[in-house]
Amino acid sequence: MKDNLIIGRYIPGNSFIHRLDPRFKLVAMILFMVLIFMASGWLDYVILTAVILGLIFLSNISLGVYVRGLKPMLIIIVFTVVLQLFFTYQGDVIWSFGPLKLTTDGLLNAVMIFMRFVLVIFISTIVTLTTQPITLTDALENLFSPLRKILPVHEVALMLSIALRFVPTLMEETDKIMDTQRARGVDFSEGNLIDRIKAIIPILIPLFISAFNRAYDLAIAMEARGYRGSEGRTKYRQLKWQRRDTLASIVLIGLMILIIWI
């Protein structure tokens, strides 16, 4: 189950993309998504696809890994593309069957929607695959630090990093509880919808209770080690903006101007 899940996974490495500042990567990812949705002509898509393929090459992770990342989204992609294909009524009709019409515009729209999905997923996977989750939370804390007066930025970042740190622990625990309940005769894979939902309860309740106990233990351990909130705290990790980040920013701005200009 863990091996198939590409979303949110981090693959250690030392490529150019890996070494970029996570703050830059986060902002660039959002800008890229905006660009993808602004792209309207063929040329825009060709340029964006070429750039993203270039980034994938720079990340030193094989294209296959990214393609596998598309899998969980496959149904949504296919559904939207098919809808676009047969229910666009503008343009010349190529083929028709009852109310279903395949038009040139529909074909064009479907291809563009498909490209949008793929590019958005690729760009977000590039960020998550090449950035350690903890540095992502550091980046978020840093980016939101101007809002410190109105938002509890440190607390939110701490919650995020603790949540990320406990994901594998809780996954392992879920597996263990599922096996335990299976051993006692709970069947998770059969029956109708209601039966299956009922079968989840013996997993959910122990998991909740153990999460509460864990939270209590962790809070005690944190307090015993002198944690008293954000005040007077120093930071062990520091994000460093380097020359390559400035360089990448310039390239990104150039690309944005190019896309908007076309």
Partner: protein, 274 residues
């Protein structure tokens, strides 16, 4: 030697309308540099005591002095800097997302400047032989390794007292031996005071002094040799006796005349060979 911890007439109960006192009129002195083991059956107040010691719980009455300072609201953070606690569950006390971050957590809280923090983290991790694992996530570590990281996190803060609150209870024998060996080593290196709260009698028999808790107060206090000779009494409190005592009892039942004093494994083996 001077006392580093003094406890006078401590009383604690978890809720107001509960007649059961978790800690009842407890008085205890612990000397600097001593290795003290606290044993007792479940619910004898051992773990409650460790939490009272660093002010995680507040006693209803009584006084605790750590290094001649009375534990109060003003001194509690100071005292927490002197006393490091290692808890039972290695997963639940791992705050950082990597080994390095976890060791640095206490230093961050103390507001140590970054360059010094890096030095201290490196030194502490090397001390527990976990430096090569500094980038690893907790999910990639064994239980014993996680406890070693927890110890490093405490060492980095330069404590005077380490409290092990059943720290080896969830480890396999190998991890347990690993953790105890490291505690022994750092105790010698830094001259620390160690308070080990445990069910494991082999672990307790390695201490300088054993205190037996029952219903929230001390019922017995002495060297391991003196405590374990009273095998029958220990069983009555709900504890076992170490392996050597069991063997001696079994030999006595077979009419073999064994010496009455407490023997370590080596000494017993020596005596048997004679």
């Amino acid at each position: 030697m001077k006392n580093i911890i003094e406890v006078k007439g401590l009383n604690y109960r978890y809720s107001e309308n509960n007649d059961q006192w978790a800690i009842k009129d407890l008085s205890l002195q612990i000397k600097r540099g001593e290795w003290l083991a606290i044993i007792g059956h479940n619910g004898s107040g051992k773990s409650t005591f460790s939490k009272l010691l660093v002010g995680l719980l507040e006693a209803q009455s009584g006084e605790i002095y750590v290094d001649h300072k009375l534990l109060s609201l003003d001194t509690v953070w100071d005292i927490r800097g002197k006393v490091g606690l290692v808890f039972q569950n290695p997963d639940n006390q791992f705050v950082g997302s990597t080994v390095e971050d976890d060791v640095a957590f206490g230093l961050e809280n103390a507001g140590i400047p970054r360059p010094e923090m890096h030095e201290r983290v490196e030194k502490a991790l090397k001390q527990v032989a976990m430096w090569e694992y500094r980038d690893k996530e907790p999910a990639a570590l064994s239980g014993g390794q996680k406890q070693r990281v927890a110890i490093a996190g405490i060492l980095a803060l330069g404590p005077e007292i380490i409290v092990l609150d059943e720290s080896t209870a969830m480890l396999d024998p190998e991890g347990r031996a690993e953790v105890m060996a490291i505690i022994r080593e750092v105790k010698e290196t830094y001259g620390l005071t160690v308070i080990s709260i445990t069910h494991d009698l082999e672990e307790a028999s390695a201490a300088d002094r054993i205190v037996v808790f029952k219903e929230g107060h001390v019922v017995d206090d002495g060297k391991p040799a003196d405590i374990f000779v009273n095998g029958e009494d220990l069983i009555q409190i709900g504890l076992g006796v170490p392996f050597t005592e069991q063997l001696k009892a079994a030999l006595q039942r077979r009419q073999i005349d064994v010496p009455n004093e407490w023997l370590s494994e080596e000494r017993l083996a020596e005596w048997l060979c004679k």
